[in-house]
Amino acid sequence: MSDSIPKIQLSAVEKRFISARGDEQIALSNLDLEIGSGEIVCLVGPSGCGKTTIINLMAGFEKPSNGVVQIDGKQVSAPDPDHIMIFQDYGLYPWRTVLGNVLFGLQARRISPAEALDKALASLELVGLTSARDKHPHELSGGMKQRVSIARALAVEPSVLFMDEPFAALDAFTRMHLQDELLRIWQEKRPTIVFVTHELDEAITLGQRVVLMAPNPGRVQRILDVKLAYPRERTDVDFSIFRKELFEEFHLVHRQALDGTEYSI
Amino acid sequence: MEYIDTNSGDDSAEALVNSDKAQTARLTRRGGYFILPLIVPILLLVVWELLSRKGLIKPTILPPPSDIWLVFVDMIKSGELLNHLRISLWRVIKGFSAGAVLGLVTAVLIGLSPRVERALVLITGLLRPIPIIAWVPVLILWMGIDEASKITVIAIGSFWPVLLNVVHGIRNTDKKYVEVATIFEKSRWTLLTKVVLPSALPSIFTGIRIGIGIAWMSVVGAELIAASAGVGYMIMYARELSQADVMLVGVISIGITGLLIDYAIRTLETRLLKWSI
């Protein structure tokens, strides 16, 4: 992480929304964050802390009310095929086969069909879904769907992957399996990964850094450097130390958040 | 029985249209809410008026809006329009109530007892696809040309959508809720009144809305074919006198009345279904 220019840089970013009632809400206040090239950074926090807002700002789906979001030194103004977002609900096209879905991004780039097919197949191979290439999304399990969406992203060889609670809808075991898969892929391709989650274990398993966020208004509470070598054993004592640290901090944040959000109609 | 309704009109469309309130809200905030929707109708009326004035549209075919308006005001003042509307509406209310009650009762029986359903499946399958309007001639033969035949047509028209939607609602009661009632050892009666009927309520309302829409459509149809009063008759009579303006007044009042009826039922629905927002 001793790079010269950060891959992603947020400086004094602020985001305000007008709520349904018409009053203004601050989703993010005065946020600075730097993410290095090839880094995996996890954003965790209770609901309403603005973690999804951050990732949407970085991916260009939203614009900051104040401040600047830069990737590779250039201001982010719109979504870019070099920075692909992976959604919790997969965003697969049900009318396309697995292969067709993976091809989508390549077709959008107008790559020649033969080359696109090669790339798509290589990408499917990477996530281990070659045999499912002719299936439709509705025939796949949740974990497989998410792997298709990862393959679709990887096919266009993005330098950044944004992942918005990608495994939240999966059961605990599938989730761990996909975490391992993601690390393996990262090992091979080394994209920069920004990963939003509310699972502390997931954050510690994946992140080189874990950004803990707090709500009302959304802000960074603490950044934790997870100095553990990959592969990380979830049951190691070292792992537990980070876990405990994050957990306690989190609990505090959560307590504050609960007073504000859970008990409101 | 398959719970589809060939007569149902475009209800699914409406359900989908309602789902984008958010978008409307966004436009509202931009201030376009009041201006945009008025532009097109006003523009249309102005062009129409101008073309008529210049003689490009023959008034016998399509009279200018100003003429229609004058006729409309006249007919309101003389009470003629409202009288016809009242007669038609009254027919709708009578026919619809009969059809809806019958439909509701049959639907509950079918929904609760597979045996009743099986007994009725072929007969309903045979009778249901007959278009309502096709009943008019034979009903006139049987019941004469007065009220009874028209009310029966309307009743038949409203019977099917109510029946089908209520059965659909009862059938689609979420099994999960039924399981909850089972766990708490609830009686069949409690299951029906506390779980099945409330959960079918949105479908019941859909049935009522479609039913009343069809009733309103059927009354016009029946009156066009044979009547001596009512909006349908008014239009038919105007046609014989080649009064295009009166015909248009009739057509437009049919549209507005239909809209009002639908609005009234929707309002009632949101009141009663406040739990389902």
């Binding site: 209770p46 609901s47 939240a168 059961d171 605990a172 075991f173 599938t174 391992d180 898969e181 690390l183 393996r184 090992q187 509310h198 699972e199 502390l200 274990d201 070598a229 990959y230 592969p231 979830r234 049951t235 004592v237 537990s240 130390i241 876990r243 405990k244 957990f247 989190f250 609990h251 959560h254 958040a257 609960l258 959000t261 859970e262 008990y263 109609i265 | 999960k176 809720y177 399981e179 909850v180 089972t182 766990i183 708490f184 050892e185 609830k186 009686s187 409690t190 506390k194 779980v195 409330p198 959960s199 309520l201 406040k274 739990w275 389902s276 927002i277």
Partner: protein
């Protein structure tokens, strides 16, 4: 509050098959388990191991299984109010308010004054005073699940079955709800059987953790958790138990980490 009548739940030689288009699936095979009165049992397993089916059989929603389940000395065949159940989705009736939903759980013969008292008491128990008149859609997921727990407890069941009750909640609310359930369990002394795929949750709550294996669903191991409550999730012993249970799930998979940084 109320003492448990001291009835143990014992499951013996329980098996269950499902018939599907392509043949039969063995959902559960030879389950033997004795749950002591007032005990908190956690059952963990991957999805499809039949753990939910087991709960559904105990509560009486799935029948046609072989083997025997006794509550005290009464065999269980049909649903009964002495067994309460909380599902993953809160399953509140959306057309009833919070109070009415809880009242729905009351036995039909309960007189209305008694019913009101019970409802009030249980709204307090789950910490929802002030929300009596709210409709389910106005509540957050965690609050809905509280209502569902109150509804299940209102008959003072001897056994409360929890089927992945926090699976749909986010991690933070989940932790909060775990503490709530513990508090309620300590207050009510109800026998609890919790099904989950969250190993942490199982250890945090259970007196014993039953590990189930996949196809055919069967009990693989029962781990005793004799840690004092409240438990510390990063405590050495906790971590050891965690390790032990993890090993049960990941033993066959040869390490996917064949690389290092």
């Amino acid at each position: 509050m109320s003492e448990n009548n001291g009835q143990a739940l014992s499951i013996s030689r329980l098996s269950k098959q499902f018939t599907i288009d392509t043949g039969t699936v063995q959902a559960l095979t030879d389950i033997n388990l004795r749950v002591e009165p007032g005990e908190f049992i956690s059952i963990v397993g991957a999805s499809g191991c039949g753990k939910s089916t087991l709960l559904r059989i105990i509560v009486g929603l799935d029948s046609e299984s072989s083997g025997e389940i006794l509550l005290g000395d009464q065999p269980i065949r049909t649903p009964g109010v002495e067994r309460g159940m909380v599902f993953q989705e809160a399953r509140l009736l959306p057309w009833l308010t919070v109070s009415d939903n809880i009242a729905f759980g009351c036995r039909s013969e309960t007189p209305s004054t008694e019913r009101n008292r019970l409802v009030r008491e249980h709204i307090e128990l789950v910490g929802l005073v002030g929300f009596e008149k709210a409709y389910p859609h106005q509540l957050s997921g965690g609050m809905q699940q509280r209502v569902s727990i109150a509804r299940a407890l209102v008959n003072r069941p001897k056994v409360l079955l929890l089927d992945e009750p926090f699976g749909a909640l986010d991690a933070l609310t989940r932790i909060n709800m775990q503490q709530e359930v513990l508090r309620i369990w300590e207050a009510e002394k109800t026998t609890m059987i919790l099904v989950t795929h969250d190993i942490d949750e199982a250890i945090y709550l259970g007196d014993r953790v039953v590990v189930m294996s996949n196809r055919p669903g069967t009990i693989k191991k029962i781990v005793q958790v004799s840690l004092p409550r409240p438990r510390d999730r990063s405590d050495y012993d906790f971590v050891q138990i965690r390790k032990e249970i993890y090993a049960e799930f990941f033993e066959q998979t040869n390490k996917p980490f064949a690389y290092a940084i």
